[in-house]
């Protein structure tokens, strides 16, 4: 039997009271915000409880909220999209992490697919997944500086002698109407 987000919330609430810090049920994709310390227990429960049976973690994303106007709201969200192949329902879970030194327990022991997704989030956001078996960068070179999908990331000037920073002068010249052509730019 398919369950909607409210029913899933009820079942988590009954098993782990107070671990859902907030919930948004009136939006396009309803989501539940889970306490960071309890995410492993809640995840295991969601996978193993026969009525819920969320056996597939089909998307794992991270979002950086810089919130310049309200710095106290600044956070990194880890967003988990879970599906149950058995009951054909799905749910979105979120975990809120502080922007400086974000740490969360790994989920690879619950859903093995989290291994690579977490490496991606570590690479591009700098989230540290505690207990991860192989936390290395996955896309970028091992010695790349910083985590590019952070909103306050700055371009390095060069990487091993290769200029990587987009030239601001170039865009200025284009804006001023100069015909700069196509091809390798200076």
């Amino acid at each position: 039997m398919s369950l909607d987000a409210a029913a899933v919330q009820q079942r988590i609430e009954a098993k782990f009271p107070g671990k859902i810090t907030s919930a948004e049920l009136e939006v396009t994709d309803p989501f539940l915000v889970i306490d960071n310390a309890a995410i492993v227990e809640v995840g295991t429960f969601l996978r193993d409880e026969p009525e819920l049976a969320f056996d597939m973690l089909h998307c794992h994303s991270a979002v950086d909220y810089l919130e310049l106007k309200e710095p106290e709201k600044a956070r990194i969200e880890v967003v988990l999209h879970l599906t149950s192949l058995k009951h054909r329902h799905w749910i979105v879970l979120k975990v809120m992490l502080p922007r400086d030194n974000p740490k969360t327990p790994t989920l690879e022991n619950i859903w093995p697919t989290a291994n690579w997704h977490e490496r991606e989030a570590y690479d591009l956001f700098g989230i540290e997944f505690e207990g991860h078996s192989d936390l290395r960068r996955i896309f970028l070179p091992e010695d790349w500086a910083g985590h590019p999908l952070r909103k306050d990331w700055e371009w390095p000037d060069e990487w091993h002698g290769i200029a990587v920073k987009p030239d601001e002068k170039f865009s200025q010249r284009a804006m001023e109407g100069e015909n700069i052509g196509v091809g390798p730019f200076d």
Binding site: H58, H81, I138
Partner: protein, 392 residues
């Protein structure tokens, strides 16, 4: 220069996951790729071998990394579409469709029936083209050259149809948010029907040419077995999941573009040669899917309304209200999804692409252990990966 922008110099052997000092006697580290014809792109696989047996395998990806997600945070919503085309560059129609579906979900746009039908036709033809490429190159990886020529001859006809449709053969920019870039040309559907009539017998021909060949079945039937529970745990989707015997298709489970109107079956791996979930099963699911795609395309052409403006619901300015949506479709390689977050501005706050190939590659280490070196080629080909989508 701030401390964040400094890189540290690495020792050359830090690029290796396996260290020479940890090896047992008789073991050896072998690099496959990044420039290797059967890795289907720039993929490096580090193998720890004992003679012919692979003890461990570690894929290294990222050689094609362009950080599509960072680009998407710097251009407007419609401008992201050409970037999505370049993710899975042999299944572009499905990529832009998925992104359009995700943003339409965020903006609560309902496209009209003509747009839906055209989207179904193009994405099913794209699925056939993509599967033809997958099967042809798979045969070639294993050592059968002829099926490759047959399948590329047919794929070319689909690319010609697409070229007539939108001027491009691989990267179309055809599906827009809220509609399509332009309507079908005159008599395009007639030509598509002629193609389908001519193509349907060719599937049987291809099937007879390769599928039951003794060398082919020996090379694929007992290799790279993915048990169903591991396939689900690793969140495999598409033919890779269905090859393990699990009936799961987004077109049936979470219909988009009116797929609920069409009659089609979801083929799954039967274990006709060797155990369920072998390379052969994954290969054969793709053959069967081409038959189903022909069926769907026929119905979609039949039921397509003659009238309708394909740009009726294309917004003048794409400016969704703050919020987020996850849109997903069944791409040729599995569930493709885009998680789009809007802050109410003209450019997306965050676009995450959920790539089926990235997920398929993550199971590689587990299924490669204990196989032979030559079987690595068979396993990679059967997972049908495209590096443009893995690395994004």
């Amino acid at each position: 220069m701030s401390s964040q922008t400094q890189y540290k110099d690495l020792e050359p052997d830090e690029a290796y996951a396996f260290k020479p000092e940890d090896l047992e006697p008789d073991e050896m580290i072998l690099n496959m790729g990044p420039q290797h014809p059967s890795t289907h792109g720039v993929l490096r696989i580090e193998l720890k071998t004992d003679g012919e047996i692979v003890k461990d395998a570690q894929p290294h990806i990222g050689y094609l990394h362009r950080n599509f997600e960072k680009h998407a945070e710097n251009i407007d919503y419609q401008g992201v579409i050409p970037f999505t085309d370049r993710m899975d560059y042999v299944g572009s129609m499905n990529n832009s469709l998925t992104y359009a579906v995700a943003v339409e979900k965020l903006m609560e746009i309902e496209v009209n029936e003509r747009v839906q039908s055209i989207r179904v036709i193009t994405s099913e033809l794209q699925r056939i083209a993509s599967h033809l490429l997958a099967l042809g190159t798979y045969g070639m990886d294993i050592g059968a050259f002829t099926p490759f020529l047959h399948s590329f001859r047919e794929r070319e006809k689909i690319l010609d149809l697409f070229e007539w449709l939108c001027g491009a053969r691989l990267l179309y920019n055809y599906n827009w948010i809220g509609g399509l870039s332009h309507d079908l040309p005159n008599q395009w559907t007639d030509r598509a029907k002629i193609f389908l009539d001519q193509f349907e017998p060719v599937i049987d021909e291809l099937d007879n040419l390769l599928s039951y060949n003794k060398i082919f079945t020996k090379r694929t039937a007992d290799v790279g077995i993915i048990p169903p529970e591991r396939a689900v745990g690793y969140a495999l989707t598409g033919p890779n999941l269905r090859g393990s015997g699990i009936k799961w298709d987004i077109r049936k489970e979470d219909p988009y573009c009116g797929y609920e109107k069409y009659e089609f079956d979801v083929p799954v791996g039967q274990g006709r040669y060797g155990p369920i979930g072998s390379c052969w099963d994954r290969y054969y699911v793709r053959v069967e899917e081409m038959r189903q795609s022909v069926r769907i395309t026929r119905q979609a052409i039949e039921q397509m309304p003659a009238e309708g403006d394909v740009r009726e619901t294309v917004p003048k300015r794409v400016k969704p209200k703050p919020g987020e949506a996850y849109g997903r479709t069944e791409a040729p390689r599995g569930e493709l999804g885009f998680y789009v977050v809007s802050d109410g501005g003209l450019i997306p706050y965050r676009v995450k692409g959920r790539s089926p190939c990235f997920v398929a590659m993550s199971i590689f280490r587990e299924i490669a252990k204990g196989e032979m070196i030559a079987d690595m080629i068979a396993i990679i080909g059967s997972l049908d990966i495209v590096l443009g989508e893995i690395d994004r």
